[in-house]
């Protein structure tokens, strides 16, 4: 195959190209870079300097070492499905794309673990082991295309993390390239509780600001013997949310407990996977119970009783796997479905104490009324993770800003009732300022202090996760440094 020549005199590009597999593994021309100017958070865009596609850990380490030595900003990117802008090159970064590192390296069923490269797609892992009766638990809605490396960076959740936990609960070991190019193994051999600080836990969810993960040992689980799903329609949202509390109070730990409000239902019914939900109900609950078959019937009966005692309009269990799958497809494509009823939408990701749901929904309705923008709510009700979807039209001048303000106001409501600003999508660039809703300056500084240990030059994914330093924090930091020196 005839190799094209590099059409640039930029020495950095020439050097970077030499570290990967030639021209097919680097992009540097504007037309090519345009697809990398944002991720799933499309409101903010910026062009990278280049995109490189390493194929192994050594190549990643070499690229990082070079960037570190040359003072070039850089960041890692998976499938680019992140919803908070974590992979957007704010500082003209060299993007290190992990998509060529997509191998499933090993599966060890006896010890319930698998080792994957970071570019391996989440759902492919479950698909590779499902014939043996195993699966990988974290199931973000984008699991058919998002990568496990990205899941680690964001500590991704999913509908079924109510019972089984989020990504951090399933990571046993990581190979990491630190921002100076050094390769370290954390959680050697995937053995739990390695002595020393829990860097596995710290790195998971650090949004690509502490290191670049190049190999991941994950825990896999045995498929539950059986699962059953219940669908319930409520005329009043209060009844729906009371039913959620009652189910949990009854001592049931559902595998998933999802809620959608009227606007969200309108969206999913107008999109690709309609199931015929009535359009005049205020809330829908999707409840899944899994485990030993012998014990499930009883729990399903209990759930049906709870719903009936809370004035449910209609409630029933899925009659077969096909119906169950249809309900889930309808729910899992919920965000995208908003495209069917609105030109643009903004997804938010607050978390609230479950009991505050009626109060929070009322306040979100007020935000919607005040801003004149419709807000749909998709809710992982079991663990209090609320996704308000602000519907807007970017073609109307000023409406994008208005949508962002409304989104931020929703997060303020969540924070004010004792919740937090993000449950699974991460802070990225989108919620940097909202970090102040939940953390004081000292607490943010405690976190940037940790970043300095890993990423002292802040060349790796700078400008993410933390608000621009407030005056107060800067002064305090100066004082602290003066005291130390």
């Amino acid at each position: 195959m005839a190799r094209k020549k590099l059409r640039t005199k930029d020495q950095h590009i020439i050097r970077l190209a030499s570290m990967v597999d030639g021209l097919g593994s680097i992009l540097y021309e504007k037309a090519d870079l345009l697809s990398y100017d944002c991720d799933g958070f499309t409101i903010h865009t910026a062009l990278p300097k280049a995109v490189v596609f390493p194929e192994n850990t050594e190549e990643v380490a070499n690229i990082v070492k070079y960037c570190h030595e040359q003072g070039l900003p850089f960041l890692a990117r998976g499938a680019g499905t992140g919803l908070s802008g974590g992979a957007i090159p704010l500082n003209q970064e060299v993007i290190i794309s992990m998509v060529k590192m997509k191998k499933l390296l090993s599966v060890d069923l006896e010890n319930r673990r698998a080792v994957v490269e970071p570019g391996f797609v989440n759902l492919k892992l479950t698909n590779s082991i499902s014939d043996k009766g195993y699966y990988y638990a974290p199931d973000p809605s984008s699991q058919y295309c998002c990568t496990i490396g990205g899941n680690v960076a964001e500590n991704a959740g999913g509908a079924h993390c109510l019972k089984y936990g989020v990504t951090t609960n399933h990571i046993l070991g990581l190979e990491v390239v630190l921002p100076n190019g050094e390769i370290v193994e954390i959680g050697s051999n995937g053995v739990p509780d390695e002595p020393g600080y829990d860097l596995l836990g710290l790195l998971t969810g650090s949004e690509g600001t502490l290191g670049i993960v190049t190999k991941i040992t994950v825990r896999i689980l045995k498929n539950p013997e059986d699962k059953q799903t219940v669908l319930a329609y409520f005329d009043k949202i209060e009844d729906g949310s009371q039913a959620v509390s009652d189910i949990v109070s009854a001592g049931i730990v559902p595998a998933a407990l999802e809620m959608m409000d009227k606007t969200a239902i309108e969206g999913v019914e107008a999109a690709a996977f309609p199931v015929g939900h009535p359009k005049d109900i205020e809330a829908l609950l999707l409840i899944e119970v899994d485990g030993i078959a012998a014990g499930i019937g009883e729990q399903i009966e209990q759930i049906l009783d709870v719903c009936r005692s809370r004035n449910v309009r209609e409630v029933r269990a899925a009659k077969d796997e096909q119906e169950r799958a249809a309900w889930w497809a309808n729910r899992k494509t919920g965000f995208g479905a908003m495209g069917a009823i609105s030109p643009d939408y903004l997804v938010q990701d607050g978390v609230i104490p479950r009991s505050k749901l009626p109060e929070v929904l009322q306040k979100i309705k007020k935000i919607s009324d005040d801003s004149g923008l419709r807000i749909a709510n998709i809710f992982h009700a079991g663990d209090g993770n609320l996704h308000p979807l602000v519907l807007f039209d970017a073609r109307i001048p000023g409406e994008t800003d208005k949508a962002m303000e409304a989104g931020s106001a929703c997060l303020k409501v969540c924070a004010d009732v004792g919740g937090t600003i993000t449950g699974e999508h991460g802070v990225g660039i989108e919620k940097r300022e909202e970090m102040r809703f939940v953390f004081k300056d000292e607490e943010i500084m405690a976190q940037t202090d940790i970043r300095e240990v890993f990423n002292p030059d802040n060349l790796l994914n700078a400008g993410k996760l933390f608000p621009t330093p407030g005056r107060c924090a800067e002064v305090k930091k100066e004082m602290k440094e003066a005291a130390i020196s």
């Binding site: 053995v191 002595p195 998971t204 045995k222 999508h425 939940v438 405690a446």
Partner: protein, 440 residues
């Protein structure tokens, strides 16, 4: 030196909150020339500021059950005891979360939660004595870790006090949270070296309607058949919350019967528990024995299990000087480790009692014998653990013996990051100095 500053300390605390402990040596070390007993968070902050200003070192203690767990200094200037800093700050039954002060004994919290049919899904050793702060600081877990997870999976928020008195909250009060770095994870298991835990927020689980414990014993020590049966159970769809292999010596101590045994627990609704019991019943064949522990029998078994671990604060007649190791390995390698350790009992003239979770890979090993023999045995066990991709650390040993023993084994590759973190948070290294791996 500290006594000269006693007056300053007396301004901060009442007389009965300060105890001169300069003369009393504790066999497990990790003590202080002066012991202080704060009642509230402000007092903890004041004590830490006082220590920082005067460059005093501070050891932190809950109930002291883990005094034998790490620590190369006999005493610090100040022993900060949290035993009087107890109580529930808030419990939201509807949200299934609870916030407690660090010095609260674990069982006290469970007793409170029982009235709400809720619990913390953790099963630490010495539950009546161990404090929630101590449990979290050591990321302790019991055999039910397979079904429950460890402290790192249950804790959702912490209020930490840094050495300079700054209060740092990490996580929050909701069960799902990715705002900022997961600083909880950094503090959990940090052995008190990067801050004092003030409050812990934990997610709760419902108490299950039914539970049952079954023991399969193998009178013939055949690792092959133990493994076959274990793989069959773990590869099935039944869901034991505990799947612990106990070696013959430990089983003899607990029940009088000396044979390798698998202990399984099931917790679910009644029908599911019976179904799983029947499944196990169906696996039985000649040469193995099955016992189902019912009611009081089951309670007593677990009672004695959770008290296998010696209490590091006990120095009375119950003083036990045995060595306890924590071993982490790849799940099924526990079988090989136990097998390899059989030999050490003979070559070193020690007894080794051990159990390990075949579903999670964590083992505890109790070694008894003459000090020199034990020391040599520890090294051998560590080598065996490493041969099986694992590690061995010492989680209980008197101070004099600790001084002559490598507690934590080799430093991992990421050690320089631990050091960097320690120095960022505690630049003067006043908190639990030398308590943790590599002297951090």
């Amino acid at each position: 030196m500290i006594t000269a500053n006693l007056e300053k300390l007396q301004i901060l605390l009442k007389a009965d909150q300060i105890k001169d402990t300069a003369e009393t040596a504790h066999p497990y070390g990790n003590s202080g020339a002066m012991t202080v007993f704060p009642n509230n968070e402000n007092e903890i902050v004041a004590i830490l500021k006082f220590a920082t200003e005067n460059s005093f070192t501070v050891n932190i203690m809950g109930a002291g059950t883990k005094r034998g767990y790490g620590g190369m200094n006999e005493r610090a200037d100040i022993l900060l005891s949290l035993e009087k800093y107890t109580g529930i700050v808030e419990h939201h039954p509807g949200d299934m979360t609870i916030t407690v002060k660090a010095g609260t004994p674990f069982q006290e919290i469970q007793d409170h939660l029982k009235a709400y049919s809720q619990r913390i899904a953790l099963d630490p050793f010495l539950p009546e004595q161990t404090t929630i702060g101590g449990l979290v600081s050591s990321n302790d877990s019991g055999p039910k870790r397979l079904g429950y997870g460890a402290a790192r999976d249950a804790v959702i928020g912490l209020r930490m006090i840094y050495p300079d008195g700054t209060i740092i909250r990490s996580g929050g009060k909701v069960v799902k949270n990715v705002a900022g770095y997961d600083m909880n994870k950094l503090f959990i298991g940090s052995m008190g070296t990067i801050g004092v835990i003030s409050e812990v927020t934990i997610k709760l689980r419902p108490i299950t309607k039914a539970e049952s414990t079954m023991i399969i014993s193998f009178p013939i020590s055949d690792m092959g058949s133990i493994k076959n049966l274990s793989v069959r159970v773990l590869d099935s769809t039944i869901e034991p919350v505990c799947f612990e292999l106990i070696n013959p010596e430990l089983m003899e101590r607990m029940t009088g019967e000396k044979s390798y045994s698998l202990v399984m627990s099931f917790e679910d609704v009644e029908k599911s528990v019976s179904y799983q019991e029947e499944f196990i019943q169906g696996l039985m064949k000649d040469g193995i024995k099955l016992r189902r522990l019912k009611g009081e029998e089951s309670v007593q078994f677990w009672q004695s299990f959770y008290h296998l671990l010696p209490n590091g604060n006990k120095v009375d007649s119950q003083f036990r000087s045995e060595t306890v190791l924590k071993i982490g390995t790849i799940n099924m390698n526990i079988l090989s480790i136990l097998k390899d350790c059989e030999l050490i009992q003979d070559t070193n003239n020690v007894t080794i009692q051990a159990h390990g979770g075949l579903g999670h890979g964590i083992m505890n090993m109790y070694i008894n014998g003459v000090a020199n023999d034990v020391r040599d045995a520890i090294e051998k066990v560590r080598n065996i653990a490493q041969k099986h991709q694992g590690y061995a650390i010492i989680r209980h040993l008197p101070f004099e013996q600790r001084k002559q023993t490598d507690i934590w084994g080799p430093k991992p590759a990421a050690f320089f990051l631990f050091e960097g973190i320690k120095l960022k948070v505690d630049p003067n290294r006043i908190l639990n100095r030398n308590r943790y791996i590599g002297g951090i």
